[in-house]
């Protein structure tokens, strides 16, 4: 018997896991947005939102793993490539070289965050136990970026809906979480414990 999609979503396994390393970096400065546009990258129009760029590999199967550009403020950005992606590595080398070669008004920011993914039924209940933000009230179509505290640690969170036939839980929410790597082990243990106590899996 084939279960309807809604039921499938509700029975998906709650899971919290570390995400595989990807190329990441940040940008600051009054000319950061213009520099991104000059590189052919999308720029979110409003602070605290994100956009994805599927590039040549666009397609339903890639929709959960796009090159991501998050706008953290009026002149600050966070970028993460897709798994195995090389787009960020191939950007203008001036931005990753000597400070003397930085474009005017553009300052790169080293980002080596610990990255996690929380997904499955019960994700919102887990988040309610570790964070003050009500993620269930967010309108995901506006691509929100949340900067808040989780288990006492400053985190960047992007909630989104799973898409595509390769995703085991289409239609359900998943939460990408980044934090300072020195807090990574603590955050993984703390949130992972709550996930396991909630019947989920900490991979």
């Amino acid at each position: 018997m084939t279960m309807p999609a809604a039921t499938t979503a509700l029975t998906a396994t709650l899971e919290f896991r570390s995400r595989t390393p990807r190329h990441r970096f940040g940008l600051k400065g009054p000319s950061a947005a213009q520099w991104l546009l000059a590189q052919g990258l999308p720029v979110p129009a409003a602070p605290n939102t994100w956009v994805g760029d599927d590039g040549a590999e666009a397609g339903a199967e890639r929709q959960n793993d796009t090159l991501l550009v998050a706008r953290l403020g009026s002149s600050e950005f966070f970028l993460e490539d897709r798994e195995g992606g090389v787009a960020l590595r191939n950007l203008d080398p001036g931005i990753t070289g000597s400070p003397a070669n930085y474009p005017a008004g553009v300052y790169p920011v080293l980002r080596q965050d610990a990255a996690f993914l929380l997904s499955g039924e019960g994700s919102l209940d887990v988040l309610a136990q570790v964070c003050n933000v009500d993620f269930g009230a967010l309108a995901l179509e506006s691509n929100p970026v949340i900067m808040t505290l989780m288990v006492g640690v400053a985190v960047l969170v992007i909630p989104r809906v799973e898409h595509g036939p390769r995703q085991f839980n289409p239609g359900a929410r998943q939460f990408k979480i980044w934090c300072d790597p020195t807090f990574g082990a603590y955050l993984a243990e703390s949130v992972g414990t709550v996930v396991v106590e909630s019947g989920g899996k900490h991979a």
């Binding site: 400070p99 020195t182 082990a185 603590y186």
Partner: protein, 604 residues
């Protein structure tokens, strides 16, 4: 085991049941939230029937409702709320249209339907012959503590509160005040009504249940070398929100012996300490130098590329809030460290200052494992520093302390008393190199580092804990490398830096206390931090740190002393824990190698 008790507190053990449980919740009876009512000038009286205080007099314009009135039934509470609301509306001249006329009057004059069954036990504390009878969980107070207070003469509600601190914990007496009154009334053999409530002061707010039921977390940062420390037997201690090795446990040694062994290694061979926990920040842009000139006391706009300089950060009141070493890596780029505990605060403050000043520069944190691995090596003359070299010299390390020790990077060296190099390994091979280096050297924990700082007369113990360096520069601030801090006048004066105005005021006024070295003459009886220093029968200051130094063979410490006492030198006394007077002597600092001969022998 859970068993019923009767009204007199007798347990019926025959009906006991054994239940597996993780926690026990205990009801302590009801106590109405009367705080706002009392703060508005309301008076209460104790109702024996209800076993709670209820309003006796209502100030003009104040209307009480609900459990404060002794109303517990839901329907009755709705009616009581309606009555109070109608009364308040009428008081300010409104008459609700829907409740006009007789209905309105009836609502206002409705009789308060108090509970007919006593909602709280008259004495909900049942003595347990083999256990403690806690009354205040916030303050760890038992029945006997309150009875002792009364026995000592603190036998009114106000006096008992001040003596025992009952009700002064986080819950502000919400679960304990009423029962403390019952205990006091029983001890004195009087009714609760004769005692009265303690004064209720703002702020008052209820405790959300979610705070009691929710999880509690303590964020903890771990060094990129955490696993290496663990494998080396690290005994952990919190430093800011980092976990750092206090020392490395060795079989057959206790804590003090292990720390002393690490100290000895630093003195006579080589030691390494992981300072990857220090904050690491880069600031760059055309006005980066000017920004640092404003944010720190020293001058950095004239720092040559490739050189370092010690930096001291003050707040607006002139108090030292952080320090570190600032390196100029390129004409428009600086890299600097902050204290472990202060890294997040300093970075946030720098961002705030930059937003305020609007200079063309940008700060970014570099607190990342593959780029920020750092360690300090304290190397003595003649010691083969293979470990150090493997970590620093062979690699493409950016040394914050220059290899030839020009003195500009001496902030670290001065603190350790040895030849200190601080290396910031700016590549992903740092972790491996550091691991190799650690394997070839004696590790140094935070405990040994604190001792080394004290040897040099640096701020240690209470004076440096958690990055709170509560001293004003120039007032006995011990680091010689703080030259340049006092740029508050003369030809080198800067137009502005944070705290400059306060320093000028302090300079004109003169110091009230100075950090001074002391020796405890009887090393078998050591005072503790914060014990008072007595000079000629008067309080002259307080001890900030004290330790027995095996290297020096004497007990040394630091104290904040009145300038005239510090200048006079000679003998002083310290009042110990039991009031005994401990003899001590004012000593010059640094205690160890005061002429810096060992450093000079290597660098020349």
């Amino acid at each position: 085991v859970i068993a019923p008790i009767d009204a007199a507190g007798n347990v019926d053990a025959s009906r006991g049941q054994r239940l597996d449980c993780d926690a026990i919740l205990m009801s302590v009876g009801w106590a109405a939230a009367a705080n706002l009512f009392l703060q508005a000038g309301g008076a209460t009286t104790f109702s024996t029937d209800l076993q709670q205080f209820v309003p006796k007099e209502l100030p003009a314009g104040v209307f009480a409702a609900g459990r404060l009135n002794g109303v517990y039934d839901f329907t009755a509470k709705v009616a009581d709320g309606t009555r109070a609301g109608m009364s308040a509306a009428a008081h300010v001249g409104y008459v609700a249209a829907r409740h006009g006329g007789a209905g309105h009057d009836a609502a206002i004059t409705a009789v308060i339907q108090r509970a007919t069954r006593r909602p709280s036990h008259a004495f909900p504390i049942i003595d347990h012959p083999k256990a403690k009878n806690f009354v205040d969980f916030d303050e760890d107070l038992q029945v006997k503590d309150l009875e002792n207070a009364a026995q000592e003469g603190f036998d009114s509600s106000e006096l008992m509160k001040r003596y025992s601190t009952v009700g002064m914990g986080p819950s502000q007496g919400k679960h304990s005040n009423m029962n403390a009154l019952r205990v006091l009334a029983r001890y004195r053999g009087v009714g609760v009504e004769t005692l009265g409530l303690t004064t209720s002061r703002p702020m008052y707010h209820p405790v959300p249940l979610k705070l009691l039921a929710g999880r509690s977390f303590y964020a903890e940062r771990r060094s990129p070398l955490d696993a290496e420390h663990e494998s080396l037997g690290a005994v952990w201690m919190p430093a800011g929100n980092w976990r750092r090795p206090e020392y490395y446990a060795v079989s057959g040694e206790n804590r003090a012996q292990s720390i002393e062994a690490e100290v000895s290694a630093v003195r006579n061979a080589v030691g390494l300490i992981d300072v990857g926990t220090l904050g690491k920040i880069e600031i760059y842009g055309p006005q980066a130098g000017e920004f640092l000139d404003r944010a720190y006391t020293g001058r950095f706009s004239d720092l040559k590329v490739g050189m370092t300089r010690y930096g001291l950060m003050l707040d607006d009141s002139g108090v030292v809030v952080d320090d570190g070493v600032i390196a100029r890596l390129a004409p428009e780029m600086y890299y600097f460290t902050t204290t472990t505990g202060g890294s997040a605060t300093v970075f946030r403050e720098l961002l705030r200052l930059n937003a305020l000043w609007g200079l063309d520069c940008c700060a970014r944190e570099c607190d990342r494992p593959s780029r920020g691995d750092q360690f300090r090596g304290a190397v003595e003359p003649g010691a083969a520093a293979a470990a150090y070299r493997s970590g620093c010299e062979r690699g493409r390390a950016a040394l914050l302390g220059r290899a030839r020790g020009t003195g500009r990077g001496r902030a670290g060296a001065a603190a350790a008393g040895g030849i200190r190099r601080r290396a910031g390994l700016r590549n992903s091979r740092g972790r491996g190199r550091c691991r190799d280096a650690v394997a070839g050297a004696v590790r140094g924990g935070f405990g040994a580092a604190g001792l080394a700082v004290l040897w040099r007369g640096g701020a240690a113990g209470a004076a440096s804990r958690e990055g709170a360096l509560d001293h004003r520069p120039g007032y006995g601030w011990p680091h010689r490398s703080v030259r340049g801090v006092g740029i508050v006048g003369g030809k080198h004066a800067k137009p502005y830096f944070v705290g400059q105005r306060s320093l000028k005021i302090f300079k004109a006024r003169g110091p009230r206390q100075v950090l001074t070295g002391i020796e405890i003459l009887d090393a078998t009886r050591l005072p503790k931090e914060c014990h008072l220093v007595i000079d000629k029968g008067a309080i002259a200051g307080r001890v900030t740190s004290v330790v027995y130094s095996h290297t020096l063979g004497k007990a040394i410490g630091l104290a904040m002393l009145a300038p005239e006492v510090a200048r006079g030198g000679g003998d002083i006394e310290i009042r110990g824990e039991q009031g005994e007077m401990l003899p001590a002597r004012i000593m010059p600092t640094p205690f160890y190698d005061p002429k810096n001969a060992r450093q000079r022998a290597v660098t020349t």
